[in-house]
């Protein structure tokens, strides 16, 4: 009996729908966690790269080494394919250190490290795009470098780099497909298995393509909404002129360090 294209798609969804759902869930889990952890890695190392030089030579020496290490990390993980990294890390860990992860955990680690390498440079650029006057103002009221970063610079940086982070997320949704080489049961791996079971390459992969597309499209829309929300409303409320303003004591008597 010969089925038409749509009959095949219906057949696949009917029999293997739950497989696709599970694969999609794993893909989303790995790419979401990988993006979040990678974002945090980028935020940490990107900020470390912008640490100010100190007057002590020893501190500067360590800063230099730290900077060198971060640069090595970025160059190595940006300069090699994630598929190769996956195999090297997953099988390398097993062979030489006897550590074995479940493929999914390994997948999350690999995507995180990979995303982190890209995010370091994104964060560095994001920090540099914040007006230097913001740092100066923070210092002028006595904030330390760390306080200025946490309360003033990084909140503005994060807003600046949100689009780039969303981009990484979308890339990750698609690129987790390379994790099939270490048998992570993500969407691509599942699709390959289904194809192996029913010998219909075209129809099976059309379904996978559609799922990937819907995922990325949804994420794009969600990120747009998030960006709009972070921009805030253009209006503000005037505080009422009858608002009680209390003058209870003289300012600042007890604030010495």
């Amino acid at each position: 009996m010969e089925r038409t294209f749509f009959e095949w798609v219906g057949y696949i969804l009917g029999h293997y729908g739950s497989w696709f759902l599970e694969g999609t869930a794993i893909t989303l889990l790995i790419s979401l966690l990988g993006t979040i952890i990678g974002f945090l890695i980028g935020l940490g190392l990107g900020s470390a790269k912008k640490l100010p030089r100190s007057s002590s030579k020893i501190k500067n020496f360590f800063l230099m080494i730290l900077n060198g290490l971060i640069t090595c990390y970025v160059e190595i993980f940006r300069g090699t394919p994630m598929m190769v990294q996956a195999i090297v890390i997953y099988f390398g860990m097993q062979e030489f250190m006897g550590i074995s992860f479940s493929p999914t955990i390994a997948g999350i680690i690999i995507v995180s490290i990979n995303t982190g390498a890209y995010m370091v440079e994104v964060v560095r650029g994001g920090i540099e795009s914040v007006d230097p006057g913001q740092m100066e103002a923070a210092k002028s009221i006595g904030m330390s470098h760390g306080q200025a970063m946490i309360y003033v610079i990084l909140p503005q940086t994060i807003k600046n780099i949100l689009p780039a982070t969303g981009n990484e997320f979308i890339i990750n949704i698609k690129d987790t497909s390379v994790l099939n080489v270490i048998s992570v049961t993500e969407l691509f791996f599942v699709t390959k298995s289904i194809k192996g079971a029913i010998f219909r390459t075209y129809e099976t992969f059309i379904v996978a393509a559609l799922i990937y597309f819907v995922l990325t499209l949804t994420v794009t829309r969600l990120l747009k909404m998030l960006e709009k929300r972070m921009d805030g409303s253009k209006e503000f409320v005037h505080a009422s002129s009858t608002m009680p303003i209390l003058f209870l004591k003289k300012p600042g008597e007890k604030n010495g360090k």
Partner: protein, 249 residues
């Protein structure tokens, strides 16, 4: 000279091979208002930025209450919290509303609890007539409003001295007045201030001392009448002459 709040001795600053400050001696007492005038590029702003160490001096001494702030291990952050600064470009924290701009330093640097910080901030926002705008983000304010909030932010830290780096140069002529009025009130209330400005009439009115800088040195300093009316230094004369001609022509 024990009662000098800040005393500066032979302060030098160079950026690479360019010597911007070539040995500045200067002092200010509590409650005094000094205005620094001079042509662009004379080192006025660099001098001001050296005072609160935003630019670190190459050599010299800065004595704050008799203690050299340039010696090793001096708590620079603490010193900066005592020496407030108002910038030409306002530099309000863009990610915070007006009230948070005025409380963040008190809470995080001075370790005050939020409610007393808020109370203090509201008092100074009221003083600069910005207490209606506490919910507004900096991007929603005009230049003059931003600068008034910036002044309130500096005041909220209960600083001993306030440095003003051309606070009205980025404002349009109409809003200059509102900022200058706030500064005049502060001067009258006994706040110690060092002001880099091009507003000669304002400088004459509020200051006890006018400092004329050119080419990295202080050419002349003294009472406003002496400097502005009877300058002795050739360069001061030239500068003021051009100023008068420029204003009337």
């Amino acid at each position: 000279m024990e009662n000098n709040l800040i005393e500066i001795k032979n302060l030098k600053k160079s950026f690479g091979k360019i010597n911007v400050l070539k040995g500045i001696d200067f002092s200010i007492k509590k409650g005094d208002v000094s205005c620094i005038i001079g042509p662009s590029g004379s080192g006025k702003s660099t001098f001001l930025r050296c005072i609160n160490l935003l630019d670190y001096p190459t050599s010299g001494e800065i004595l704050y209450k008799g203690e050299n702030v340039l010696k090793n291990n001096y708590n620079v952050d603490f010193y900066r919290s005592k020496v407030g600064m108002v910038f030409q470009q306002f530099n309000l924290f863009n990610n915070m509303n007006v009230l948070d701009n005025c409380t963040i330093g008190q809470v995080k640097v001075l370790k005050k609890d939020y409610n007393s910080a808020k109370e203090n901030a509201l008092k100074f926002l009221e003083k600069v007539q910005m207490s209606k705008f506490i919910e507004a983000k900096p991007s929603q304010l005009s230049g003059g409003q931003k600068q008034r909030v910036a002044i309130a932010r500096a005041l909220s830290m209960d600083s001993e001295i306030l440095l003003f780096d051309e606070p009205t140069s980025a404002l349009d002529p109409e809003t200059v007045g509102e900022v200058l009025k706030v500064m005049k009130d502060l001067a009258q209330s006994g706040l110690t201030m060092i002001i880099v400005t091009h507003e000669m009439a304002f400088a004459r009115e509020v200051s006890n001392k006018i400092v004329f800088m050119d080419d990295g040195i202080i050419c002349e300093q003294g009472k406003p009448e002496e400097i502005l009316v009877n300058p002795k230094n050739e360069r001061t004369k030239n500068f003021l002459f051009r100023f008068i001609v420029g204003e009337s022509g």
